[in-house]
Symmetry: C2
Subunit: 248 residues, 2 copies
């Protein structure tokens, strides 16, 4: 329901629930940098939501691509399956991040997106997003930046997979998570992992046993405190040092 926004007091719950203009993830998400008028246009576009239960797919590889998705709440993984049965997690996504950019290329999704906890996404019909970004320069530019950021992120992962050893990879992974949780107002030092050791390993190009051993080692060295999926980071500089430890 496209209600007119007036003073703060009169904003109804339904508006709060459906508008980018009232979403606390603005700064992390698509609306970044838009003015009020532009934001209200985006509100019309991003009007539908979808809830995804833990373990369910948001989309699957091969499905026709129609929309991209902004994560409103929750946590996802994306993974790719090779013909020979091998698969790999290509990323973990959290609130404010976009899903589905891979599908633009061929008009079909090239990976699976699975919720790792009960989640909610905003559905952004892609043709309409292209239409609106022809009108709104700031939206167009920001969208391009988001796509580019994804490319840069992937290069970082390639770097990690190509040059780092197991413990360096895990340190980089933990520091990255910590930083992203911080950007969302959560503790930078304490969080629950939403994914299994196997999924972490898949993402980092390691076996789950290696991930487990690295966690144990970090704990022995006083870098972190692990209890199953609960992680407390005790020594960020220590992890950073470990990550950039010359290994020639």
């Amino acid at each position: 329901m496209p209600l007119k926004k007036t003073s703060a007091q009169e904003i109804t719950l339904s508006v709060i629930k459906t508008a980018c203009s009232n979403c606390n993830l603005q700064e992390l998400c698509l609306p970044y940098g838009l003015n009020e008028t532009e934001m209200s246009k985006l509100d019309e576009l991003v009007s539908t939501r979808r809830k995804i239960k833990r373990g369910d797919h948001l989309y699957r590889a091969g499905e026709a691509f129609e929309s991209i998705y902004a994560i409103r709440a929750g946590f996802f993984k994306t993974d790719v399956l090779l013909e020979d049965g091998r698969d790999q997690v290509t990323g973990f996504q959290m609130a404010g991040e976009l899903l589905g950019l891979d599908g633009i290329s061929t008009e079909h999704h090239s990976c699976n997106a699975v919720a790792l906890e009960d989640s909610e996404v905003c559905i952004i019909p892609f043709p309409r997003l292209e239409g609106l970004s022809r009108e709104i320069v700031a939206l167009q530019h920001h969208f391009h930046k988001v796509m580019s950021r994804e490319i840069v992120r992937d290069h970082g992962v390639m770097m990690l997979l190509g040059t780092m050893r197991a413990e360096e990879r895990l340190a980089a992974f933990l520091l990255n998570l910590s930083q992203r949780f911080t950007a969302r107002g959560y503790s930078h030092a304490e969080f629950y992992l939403r994914m299994t050791r196997e999924e972490i390993g898949s993402y980092l190009g390691l076996k789950l046993e290696t991930v487990s051993r690295a966690f144990s080692r970090f704990q022995e060295e006083g870098l972190i405190a692990v209890q199953q999926k609960h992680i407390r980071i005790l020594d960020i500089p220590g992890l950073k040092k470990l990550m950039t430890h010359q290994s020639a």
Copy 2:
């Protein structure tokens, strides 16, 4: 046929040299899918070229981002440098492919682009490209597809680095090169590598000795014929089989 340049009667050299509308890489490059009117608008935008000598940088990490580049002729690599001195090749680019998309994100380039042979690029000022893609729907959409394709490609490399063994990686690499040469009208079975074993290794997350050994092994098995940088592919199905060989 696309590579055969007729010394056409009326067309002056300067026109041939500066117009997308006369470029034989249209189908691989930015102008894909544009009509004549649109093409001529793009011609105005992409008016300047730049020659890059072998070994020279097209841009460097950290430099301000202003333009993306379409490779008119030649061969490039992009690489990323970590603070601790480690570096990795993130890609090899050939004619018709775009360079510089990584810079949109932060307005600064995040990697180096180096010519591996004497090359020439078309300079595409990014703000003007955004402007034109607000006018030309087909251009906008194709540009989005190109960026998305880059993301999908990177996922493929992550897959390779995360799950494949040395010989599988090299087989995948050769098949990919073969396919891209084919798309450009060159032989799919015979080509010169523009990069060193060390650069191949860096890209594939291997050491140069491992790359060299894998080449030798492929030769022993009759899959390819190697003589330094000259490669002849003798058994494509064999390479494919090797690449997808179940390794659990």
